[in-house]
C-alpha cells in the first residue's frame, strides 16, 4: 500500500510538468517571433536579414535609416508592448485572485481614472503650459502622479477595512470622482486639445524613449519577480483570506503587498502608454483557461507571456491595419480579444 502510494505520488508529481514546459516554450517562442515581426513590419517593411543585421550592430547616429527605425522607433515600442502587456496581465491576475472575482481588472481600484485626471490637468488646463519645461515627459509624469495618488488613497483605506467588497467599492467610487472631474475639465477645454486627450485615454505605445524602457524594465521587472516569488501565499489566497490565514499566511502585510504591487504595475504602464483596456482583465482568463489551472506559479509567468503576446499582436494591428492612421490600442485589444475569451469560456465550460 505504502509503496504503491509512493509510486503514484511520484507519477502525479511529475505528470503535469512535461506539458507545461511545452506550453511555456511555445509561449516564449511566440513572444520572440512577435517582437521580431514588430521590428520588421511597419510603414516600411524590411526582410528578416536586414533587421537582424541592424540588431547585432549597436545603434550609431551615422547609421542607415533602417538602423534608426529599428533602434529608435520599433525596438523601444516592441519592448514596451511586451512589458506593458505582461505587467497589466500580472496586475489583473493579482487583483482577481485577491478579490476572488473574475470581473476585476487592474483599473478596478481607480488607477486609470486617477492617471487620466492628472493627464487631463496637464493637457487640458493652463497648468500644463506652466510645466511646459517638463515636456516630453509631462503626460508620463502626470499619469504617474495621478495613478500613485489614487493608489496611496486606496491602500490607506485598505489598511482600515478588511472586507474586499468594501475596498472594491471605495476604489470604484474614487474612480468615479476622478472621472467626473475629468469630464468637467473636458467640457471646459478647447476643441483642438480634446482629440489629443481622448486618444491618450485610449492608449498607445508610440513614442517610447529608451529611458522609459529602462525604468519599466527595472521597476516593473522587480515587481513581477516579487509577485512570482510570492505565488505560494497567493495560491493560499485562492481559498479566501480566512483560509489563507489559517494556513499560515500573514494576511495584513500580504494584502498591502498585493494592492501595492498590482497598482504600481498598472500605474506604471498607464503613465507611459495610457489606459490600455482589456488586457489586464482578459489575459488572466486566457491564461487560466488555456493552461487549465488556477495555480499561480504557472499562471503568473503564463499570464505575463500571454499579455506580451496579446499586446504585441494588437499593437502590430493598430499600427498597420489602417496605416498611415494609427489606431488606439484599446480599440484593438478588446475587438480581437473579447471573442477569444468568450470562445475559451464556451469551450471549457468553466464557471469562473
Amino acid at each position: 500500500m505504502r509503496a504503491e502510494l509512493s509510486l503514484e505520488s511520484a507519477l502525479i508529481a511529475r505528470r503535469h510538468a512535461g506539458r507545461r514546459y511545452l506550453v511555456f516554450i511555445v509561449l516564449s517562442a511566440s513572444v520572440l517571433i512577435l517582437t521580431f515581426a514588430n521590428l520588421m513590419i511597419g510603414a516600411v517593411s524590411h526582410p528578416v536579414g536586414d533587421v537582424l543585421r541592424e540588431l547585432v550592430r549597436p545603434f550609431t547616429d551615422s547609421g542607415t535609416d533602417l538602423s534608426f527605425i529599428v533602434w529608435k522607433i520599433r525596438l523601444p515600442r516592441a519592448l514596451a508592448t511586451v512589458m506593458g502587456g505582461a505587467y497589466l496581465a500580472a496586475s489583473g491576475l493579482l487583483l482577481q485572485v485577491y478579490f476572488r472575482n473574475p470581473v476585476v481588472g487592474p483599473y478596478i481600484l481607480g488607477i486609470s481614472s486617477g492617471a487620466t485626471l492628472a493627464v487631463s490637468l496637464a493637457m487640458l488646463t493652463p497648468l500644463g503650459l506652466r510645466l511646459a519645461y517638463l515636456t516630453p515627459f509631462l503626460t508620463t509624469l502626470a499619469g504617474l502622479a495621478g495613478a500613485y495618488l489614487v493608489m496611496t488613497l486606496v491602500v490607506a483605506v485598505a489598511a482600515r477595512v478588511s472586507s474586499g467588497a468594501t475596498l472594491l467599492i471605495v476604489g470604484l467610487m474614487t474612480g468615479y470622482i476622478c472621472s467626473s472631474v475629468t469630464a468637467i475639465l473636458t467640457a471646459l477645454a478647447e476643441k483642438e486639445k480634446i482629440k489629443g486627450f481622448v486618444l491618450w485615454g485610449l492608449g498607445s505605445f508610440s513614442g517610447f524613449k529608451w529611458l522609459e524602457i529602462w525604468i519599466m524594465l527595472a521597476f516593473g521587472g522587480l515587481l513581477v519577480l516579487s509577485i512570482f516569488l510570492l505565488s505560494k501565499p497567493l495560491n493560499a489566497f485562492l481559498l479566501g483570506e480566512e483560509y489563507a490565514a489559517s494556513m499560515g499566511v500573514s494576511i495584513r502585510r500580504f494584502r498591502l503587498f498585493i494592492l501595492l504591487a498590482a497598482s504600481s504595475l498598472a500605474g506604471l504602464v498607464t503613465a507611459m502608454a495610457g489606459p490600455v483596456a482589456f488586457v489586464g482583465l482578459a489575459v488572466p482568463h486566457m491564461a487560466r483557461l488555456s493552461l487549465a489551472t488556477s495555480d499561480n506559479r504557472v499562471l503568473i509567468p503564463g499570464a505575463c507571456l500571454m499579455g506580451a503576446i496579446v499586446t504585441g499582436a494588437c499593437d502590430l494591428i493598430a499600427r498597420t491595419w489602417l496605416s498611415p492612421v494609427e489606431l488606439p490600442i484599446s480599440a484593438i485589444t478588446a475587438f480581437f480579444g473579447a471573442p477569444v475569451v468568450i470562445g475559451l469560456l464556451l469551450k471549457r465550460g468553466v464557471k469562473m
Partner: protein, 440 residues
C-alpha cells in the same frame, strides 16, 4: 530541525500521549469589540471529539474564529498544547490547528489534488512545490476521507458532499493536532452527514486528531462526541460527556424548544404538533405505533399513549412528542390503578387508535419480556403482571362502551386505516408520507 525530520508524524496514537491537553481555555471572552461569550473555561485532551452546541447566533462561530486566531480574544487565555495562542508563529500555528469553515471556497480550474495540496502550505518550501512526500500525504488524506477517487476532478464541479470531504482533506493535509470545524454538515444530505461525522469520529480514534466542531444536530452530537460544549446566553452552560450533559430537559432549554422534544434515549428530536385538532388515545408498544404517533402529532392531534412498558421505544417517542404516556410498570402502579387512569384519560378522547393490530402483541408466555420479569410473568389473573394484550382488551372494551371510533392499524403497523380515517376527518395527508405510512 530539517523539514524532513519533522514531517513523518506517525499517526500512531502511541506517539501522542492521549492525556495531553490539546486545547485549554481559561475564563475566555470572545466577540467583536463587545463580548458575545464570556467566562468560558474548558479543556480537552488529544483525540477528543468535542461538539459545540447552541442556537443560531449564540456565538459558536465567534468562538471558533477566536480559537483559530481570526479574532483576538477579548479576555482570558487560550492555550494550544499548553502553549499560549500568541506564542505561535503563523506557520507554526498552521501546523497544529487547521480549520474548515462554512464558506466553501471552490476556485475554478483547480484540481482536487492541487486543492488539497494547498493544505501542505505550512510544510512546503518557498514556492510551495509539492514534493513526493507531500503528494503522498495528500493522497493519504484523500483516502482518509474516502475521496481518493476524486483526486483528478475539478473542485468547482464537485457536489456539496464531495466538496466538504475534500475540504476536510485539505484541512487534514496540514497534519494538525486540532481541527476546528464550523457546521461541517450544513447543506449536506443525510448520507453525507452521517458519513462525514463517521470519518471525523474515526480520525479522532485512529489518528488521535482532536476535533472541535460547531454542530446543529443534537442527535448527531450526542452520538459522536466525547464532550459537548453547550453555549447559551453569553456563556458556557455545560461541558461534559453527552450522556451527562444532554438530558431531554437540558436540550429543550438550550434551544428553547417548544414545538419539539429531545429524547436522550432515542438520541433524536421529535417535532411536536400543536394538538389543536383533537385528542387521540393510541394503544401501542414495541414500535408498532411509533410512525403513527409521529403522523398524528404532525397532523395536530394531542396524544395519549397506553400502555407500553416504561422502556419501550414507543414510550420514548411518545414522551418526546409531548404525549401523556401511561406505562404499565410505573412504580407502585397496580394494574387496576393503571387501568382506571387509562379509562379516565380515554373519556375526553375523540378516537382511539389501536396500533397493536388484530393479534395480541404479547401472547401469554411473552416472546421478549424483559428478563427480570420473566419469573412472575404469568397472564393476568389477579396477582401477576398483566401483559399488553390484557390492557388492549380492557381499553377496547371501554372505548366501545364510550362509543369512541376505533381505528385499527393493519398487521405490521399498516397505517392505511389511520390515513383513511384522518382523511375523512378532513386531514389532508401529504401524498408521499401517507403512502409510505400505509405501505410500511
Amino acid at each position: 530541525m530539517t523539514a524532513e525530520a519533522s514531517r513523518p508524524r506517525e499517526p500512531d496514537p502511541r506517539g501522542l500521549p492521549r492525556e495531553e491537553v490539546v486545547l485549554r481555555a481559561e475564563n475566555l471572552s470572545v466577540g467583536y469589540k463587545k463580548p458575545v461569550l464570556s467566562g468560558l473555561s474548558f479543556s480537552f485532551p488529544q483525540g477528543s471529539f468535542v461538539s459545540v452546541l447552541g442556537s443560531n447566533g449564540v456565538g459558536k462561530s465567534t468562538l471558533l474564529r477566536t480559537l483559530s486566531r481570526h479574532l483576538p480574544p477579548l479576555g482570558g487565555e487560550i492555550k494550544i498544547r499548553e502553549r499560549p495562542l500568541s506564542g505561535y508563529s503563523a506557520s507554526e500555528f498552521a501546523k497544529v490547528v487547521s480549520v474548515v469553515m462554512t464558506d466553501r471556497a471552490s476556485p475554478p480550474l483547480l484540481r482536487v489534488l492541487e486543492y488539497v495540496g494547498l493544505g501542505r502550505h505550512p510544510h512546503t518550501g518557498f514556492l510551495g512545490k509539492l514534493r513526493e512526500t507531500d503528494v503522498e500525504v495528500v493522497l493519504r488524506c484523500l483516502a482518509d476521507v474516502k475521496a481518493r477517487h476524486l483526486s483528478d476532478r475539478f473542485v468547482d464541479q464537485l457536489s456539496d458532499g464531495e466538496r466538504q470531504k475534500v475540504s476536510l482533506a485539505r484541512a487534514l493535509a496540514q497534519e494538525p493536532r486540532l481541527m476546528l470545524l464550523d457546521e461541517p454538515t450544513a447543506h449536506l444530505d443525510l448520507k453525507h452527514r452521517v458519513e462525514l461525522m463517521g470519518i471525523l469520529r474515526g480520525l479522532c480514534r485512529e489518528k488521535s486528531l482532536s476535533v472541535l466542531a460547531a454542530v446543529h444536530d443534537v442527535d448527531v452530537a450526542a452520538k459522536v462526541s466525547d464532550q459537548v460544549l453547550a453555549l447559551k446566553d453569553g456563556g458556557l452552560t455545560s461541558f461534559g460527556p453527552p450522556q451527562e450533559v444532554l438530558s431531554s430537559r437540558f436540550v429543550s432549554k438550550l434551544y428553547d424548544f417548544e414545538k419539539a422534544g429531545y429524547s436522550s434515549h432515542l438520541g433524536g428530536i421529535e417535532i411536536r404538533g400543536d394538538g389543536s385538532r383533537g385528542r387521540v388515545f393510541v394503544l401501542t408498544e414495541k414500535d408498532r405505533g411509533a410512525q403513527s404517533l409521529r403522523h398524528l402529532s404532525k397532523h395536530g392531534y394531542a396524544l395519549k399513549v397506553g400502555v407500553p412498558e416504561r422502556h419501550d421505544l414507543d414510550a420514548y417517542v411518545a414522551g418526546a412528542l409531548g404525549a401523556e404516556v401511561l406505562t404499565r410498570d410505573s412504580r407502585g402502579g397496580k394494574p387496576e390503578e393503571i387501568l382506571r387512569k387509562a379509562f379516565r384519560s380515554l373519556e375526553d378522547c375523540d378516537f382511539l387508535v389501536d396500533a397493536l393490530g388484530p393479534e395480541a402483541p404479547n401472547p401469554p408466555g411473552g416472546e421478549e419480556a424483559p428478563g427480570r420479569e420473566k419469573g412472575n410473568d404469568a397472564p393476568f389473573s389477579g396477582g401477576g403482571r398483566p401483559d399488553g394484550g390484557f390492557y388492549r382488551r380492557e381499553l377496547l372494551r371501554e372505548a366501545s362502551r364510550l362509543g369512541l371510533t376505533i381505528i385499527s392499524l393493519g398487521p405490521g403497523g399498516d397505517a392505511a386505516p389511520l390515513a383513511r380515517e384522518l382523511e375523512e376527518r378532513g386531514t389532508a395527508l401529504s401524498g408521499t408520507y401517507g403512502k409510505a405510512l400505509s405501505g410500511s
